[in-house]
């Protein structure tokens, strides 16, 4: 039995060592995504192009404009003479934020029931809208003896990520996204490639058992997955100062569990499809919901109930929770038992389905 599993694993390693593209992807995909997501995804938006219509032209309105500029969130371009002109510039995409200071700005400032300034926001981009709302909630401080418009009701302290750096939120979960991507793609081709190349007909006439074949094929990828995890952690710590607050042992255990689940998903795809092309397509079909619904980018708790149920089926959802818990909150694996159990259930169910689908037959 071990002999046969070893035979399959050795064969896979031989083949892998000759497949330079796949080999490159093992290292390339994590690196590329780290750099891409680590630097490019930034919820801490700065320098949004904006313009002002200042109908008031008072010292107060100029002070407000100065404050806006100083915040760095908005990069103010040439002022607009009128509101319609502002709208036109937003239509063309020149600006994403428009600030309209009405002629009665000074009077409005003293009236607490009316807003003093209007912000015009390009709602076609999700993050801009969020930023603008944040901007509206923080009014410029009082000056020249004028009373403050509002006092802060809440003082926010962001636990686990006091500086609110996006990379800290992104990188740990990125391990999951990268593993989900590479593991599913690699194994989705595993069986179907043999079928396509005609090796399958020979393979099934040998004494190798179905599960031995599966395990033998998956083993090399478990190690590859752990290697990728290590790579992301090192690059994350080095480039983005992402701390690892929990135990490394717990982290690798959680990663191994997720890797097994992702590999099994790939294997299941491989037994359903008839060609490698179909397998890749199906792998991609599972990829997008995994990434979007897992809480990697959008808060999981903000999703409708039905979608949350769907997300529960995807292994990445549970892993994102686990890895953020371990890396950022310093949680131990037993604190995350429920998530681990759900991953385990997925693994067993997918494995059972795969076994059911796989036959050492041609028909």
């Amino acid at each position: 039995m071990l002999n046969r599993i070893a035979a399959v694993t050795i064969k896979e390693l031989h083949q892998l060592s000759r497949d330079r593209l796949t080999f490159g992807m093992i290292i390339g995909i994590p690196l590329m995504q780290m750099l891409l997501f680590g630097y490019a995804i930034n919820f801490d938006v700065r320098g949004l192009p904006g313009a002002v219509v200042d109908a008031a032209q008072t010292s107060g309105s100029r002070a407000l404009i100065g404050d806006l500029q100083a915040s760095g969130v908005v990069r103010l371009l040439a002022p607009s003479p009128s509101v319609p002109d502002l709208r036109r510039r937003m239509d063309t995409g020149e600006i994403q934020i428009g600030v309209v200071i009405p002629a009665d700005f000074e009077r409005r400032r003293l009236q607490h029931d009316r807003a003093a300034v209007q912000l015009l926001v390009d709602g076609s981009e999700p993050m801009t809208d969020m930023v603008a709302r944040a901007l509206a909630a923080t009014p410029p401080p009082a000056r020249q003896g004028m009373q403050a418009l509002r006092t802060e009701t809440f003082a926010v302290r962001t636990a686990y990520n006091p500086e609110r750096r996006t990379a800290v939120q992104i990188v740990p979960a990125l391990i999951g996204v990268i593993l989900n991507m590479t593991m599913v793609i690699f194994t989705s081709a595993a069986i179907v490639r043999e079928r396509e190349r005609g090796n399958f007909e020979l393979l099934i006439t040998t004494p190798v058992r179905s599960w031995e074949l599966m395990v033998g094929k998956l083993l090399p990828y478990v190690f590859i997955g752990l290697l990728q995890t290590t790579l992301v952690l090192i690059v994350g710590a080095w480039l983005f100062d992402v701390p690892i607050n929990g135990s490394l042992g717990d982290l690798y255990l959680a990663a191994a569990l997720f890797i097994a689940a992702a590999l099994t998903l790939g294997l299941l795809i491989s037994t359903i499809t008839r060609t490698q092309f179909q397998a890749f397509q199906l792998a991609f079909v599972t990829m997008l919901p995994s990434i979007l619904l897992s809480g990697f980018v959008f808060p999981f708790d903000g999703m409708p109930t039905a979608v949350r149920w769907l997300a529960q089926v995807l292994p990445l959802t549970h892993f994102v929770e686990m890895i953020r818990g371990i890396v950022l909150r310093g949680a131990a694996l037993h604190d995350l038992g429920w998530q681990a159990a759900k991953l385990g259930i997925f693994l067993v169910a997918a494995l059972a389905l795969t076994m059911l689908r796989f036959r050492k037959r041609l028909d």
Binding site: A7, H14, R197, G198, E201, T205, L362
Partner: protein, 317 residues
């Protein structure tokens, strides 16, 4: 070793949708012989072989292989069966040695046994000079030698070969058959499918398949003796004219061209078949030599497949 037949099939049938690929075939294949499946493409040879080694489940009928029922006992029989697929099915991106090592591990050879057996096969199938080459770079003949080495690595009692020589040159085909005869003397039973007449003639026993039906069975010499037709050979410069002259005659069951000669299969009930054809040719004004000859296996094939199919001629050697 048991003296019971290696393979007994009864009413073996396989449908793919509305197509009946193998239709109620009965077979008894004795041990330590080379038994051939002869038939054109699409005659059901591959499907039959796949059912015999448990890769396809018969739609109906029963198969016993080495006293075990298939496909029920297929997994238990794996170590006793060797199978060589029609298309090269070892791994292109592995070297010759790596391919053999993989097969040896899968069949449970320990490391010393493995080394010894691979060394033996390397000698036997002349793989030494290409041992570290990747399979994808091998020629047709080399691939075939590797495939046979892999199929016989675990010393199977029964070897199933699905058109093993369709992609190799004549010299390689001769060497290949030498190897098969050597295996038979070592006690192996071999079932081989082919569409080459010269290969079919080398088999101890032969089954002619046509569109899923078993249409003739026996030793090649016996099939030749028992052909249900008189074979008349016509040698003529104008073969087209000769053919036209004979085509409509009710006694002429079929005409096949072999070079400058025609073989006409004539209804066995016809008295003086040669004189009759000679008369027809003279009427048409075609000069020709006409002679009753011994049937070739190709004639047998044409007769067995209902006097319509022209079989594949052996390639020039």
């Amino acid at each position: 070793m048991s003296t019971a037949p290696a393979i007994v099939a009864q009413g073996l049938t396989r449908r793919f949708g509305s197509v009946v690929a193998v239709d109620h075939v009965d077979l008894t294949i004795p041990r330590t012989q080379i038994y051939g499946f002869l038939g054109p493409n699409g005659s059901g040879k591959s499907t039959a072989i796949r059912m015999l080694c448990g890769l396809l489940v018969p739609t109906s009928g029963q198969v016993d292989v080495l006293d075990h029922q298939m496909p029920r006992d297929a997994e238990r029989m794996r170590a006793k069966l060797g199978y060589m697929t029609q298309k090269f099915s070892l791994w292109d991106d592995l070297t010759v040695i790596e391919n053999l090592q993989f097969m040896a591990r899968i069949f449970g050879f320990g490391s010393r046994e493995r080394t010894a057996r691979i060394a033996e096969l390397t000698r036997e199938y002349d793989l030494g000079s290409i041992a570290t080459q990747r399979a994808v770079t091998l020629s047709g003949g080399q691939k075939q030698r590797l495939a046979l080495a892999a199929a016989t690595l675990h010393r199977p009692e029964l070897l199933l070969l699905d058109e093993p020589t369709s992609a190799v040159d004549p010299q390689s085909r001769r060497d290949f058959w030498e190897s098969l005869f050597r295996l038979v003397t070592q006690g192996t039973t071999i079932l081989v499918s082919t569409h080459f007449m010269d290969e079919a003639e080398r088999c101890h026993g032969l089954a002619i398949l046509d569109r899923g039906h078993l249409v003739a069975e026996g030793a090649p010499q016996q099939l030749i003796r028992d052909i249900p037709a008189i074979v008349v050979e016509i040698e003529a410069a104008d073969t087209v004219g000769a053919r036209r002259a004979l085509d409509g005659d009710p006694a002429v069951l079929s005409i096949a061209q072999l070079g400058t000669r025609l073989h006409a299969l004539v209804d066995p009930a016809t008295p003086t078949a040669d004189a009759r054809l000679r008369g027809l040719l003279e009427q048409a004004g075609v000069a020709a030599q006409v002679e009753i000859v011994r049937a070739s296996l190709e004639d047998v094939f044409v007769a067995a497949t209902g006097f319509r199919t022209a079989a594949t001629s052996p390639p020039p050697q």
